[in-house]
Symmetry: C2
């Protein structure tokens, strides 16, 4: 892939602050955008971060709490005002359809493009809910006060690589390389028969991004994101508010880091911070005590997955 | 009044731009706020402009197009999260009730305070829809593609002022001033009888603010805002797009200025600019050719009505 990037648009929990916007992120794969959650103001944040509306292919809404979804009617309307004329896929809890229908009816908004609505309730965690030739999106189980799912974006169709050094070690002349790469079994002048498997390495590990917000600490999640390259996991509270986290079905910094550690991901980003925290450094420190490769998600941050080990 | 101020939160038409937000304004009277329209992102703009949520008494929604109303569910929820426990008045087209009911049902949002909903359809243009001891709000007729009303905010109960110079000219001794101010007829030592009316000036003209967005050019509006101190009138297009303005039930800069001139207001602010205009100076120039006391509404502008002639 030439581009696999995540742009953070919003990291606030329910109440936005002066520096933090409601939840929204953009996963960019090659030249197309996928929107993940759509809190109020997302269309303006897309403008600010130079995310072109015309390159948006699909939207994924984790759950229907307002801070994850209230920007959607405005964004869908704006796409129409910009004369979008090709379909948009929307993966979301079923209730969103009624919110949009009633809102568009009273606001007299008519979308000039097809909105393909896929209710998340129709899928099971682990299911592939969307795929192209390059990547797939799988559903993740989250545990929140309301029906809620995460999303795993990962490359597909990685092919084994031709291993030049193996070929050299076998003393295969260069003029056979092309035939082997194309999958042919060859017979060398010295009578040896070489199959392609002998000169191919294992396929590269795939780049992958797991989005997990909102959820309480949930060990069943671990198996679904094992070995993921990058994990975004909510961390609404510091560890000393673990009881508040449990009550509200949110996670603490330590819990987010524990999930990252158990799953063996390469890098963790935390976000969805409670408005009570102005300084986020203590959150980072707590998480890094459990999982050192943690960073803070922040508005405008761009995560280039090609620069992170897989 | 110690404060009569308007804070502009958003001046964009349907499509927001990088520098312009959807429609919303705050009318501040003494230490209380009234919100006028509530486009997407209004709660964040209130934060940015230091408009305290706790001082919000009432909201006035002109019409249900998304750019004037899509911020309301988020703001109402945030007020609840901040533990508001006193009523909020909401004056809006009736359909907003169903949008909110369906949205709050699916987002599982429960307001911890009373939302007093007043459908605008229950009133006629010219009706006083809200009043306190200090000011009143009257309904204005606007002509848009969808049911739409403007709002006139104006002082009430102005009392006549005691005119010190008139009293001095009549050679009334100072010790009678208080009795006259209290409305008593007095008899001076020289036998003259003085009534209060002889030493009172006409009451001050009242400060007033008329909000008119969205509307096509509408002469019937003029009588409802005659003599208003400050008029905000939408000017979505330059004059050369008058036909586009007519089609979409919007106004041009020249039309907004013409309404201001006919109504004899003291000052005009234009706003609700189409996203096609990056530079607004040509809009200002066109309006000023018809009505010189025009200014551009801009995000963050504060209009202090006490500093403008009444």
């Amino acid at each position: 892939m030439s581009v696999f990037q995540v742009t953070i648009l919003g990291t606030s929990a329910a109440i936005p602050t002066n520096s933090r916007r409601p939840s929204s992120q953009v996963v960019t794969i090659n030249d197309r955008h996928l929107l993940v959650d759509c809190g109020e103001g997302t269309q303006m944040e897309m403008l600010r971060r130079k995310i072109r509306y015309s390159r948006l292919d699909a939207m994924f809404i984790s759950h229907l709490h307002g801070d994850h979804v209230l920007g959607i009617a405005g964004l869908l309307t704006t796409l129409s005002l910009y004369e979008r004329n090709f379909p948009l896929k929307l993966f979301a809890p079923a209730g969103l359809k009624e919110i949009l229908d009633v809102t568009f009816s009273h606001t007299q908004s008519y979308l000039g493009y097809e909105l393909e609505f896929y209710p998340l309730e129709a899928f099971e965690p682990g299911d592939t809910i969307y795929e192209t030739g390059n990547y797939e999106v799988k559903l993740l189980p989250l545990e929140h006060r309301i029906f809620c799912r995460g999303f795993l974006f990962q490359e597909t169709n990685k092919r084994p690589r031709f291993d030049f050094y193996k070929a050299k070690a076998l003393e295969i002349p260069n003029n056979y390389f092309r035939l082997l790469k194309l999958g042919n079994v060859i017979t060398l002048d010295d009578g040896r028969v070489i199959s392609p498997a002998e000169v191919l390495s294992d396929p590269d590990s795939v780049m992958s991004y797991a989005y997990c917000s909102d959820t309480r600490y949930s060990e069943p999640l671990v198996e679904f994101i094992r070995g993921a390259q990058v994990l975004y996991h909510e961390a609404t509270f510091l560890n000393n508010l673990a009881s508040r986290a449990a009550e509200t079905y949110h996670s603490t910094t330590g819990q987010a880091a524990s999930i990252a550690k158990q799953a063996g991901v390469k890098k963790l980003y935390i976000g969805h911070y409670s408005a009570r925290y102005l300084d986020l450094e203590p959150m980072l420190e707590e998480a890094q005590q459990v999982f050192p490769d943690t960073e803070l998600a922040k508005e405008g941050l761009m995560i280039d997955l090609r620069k992170i080990p897989v």
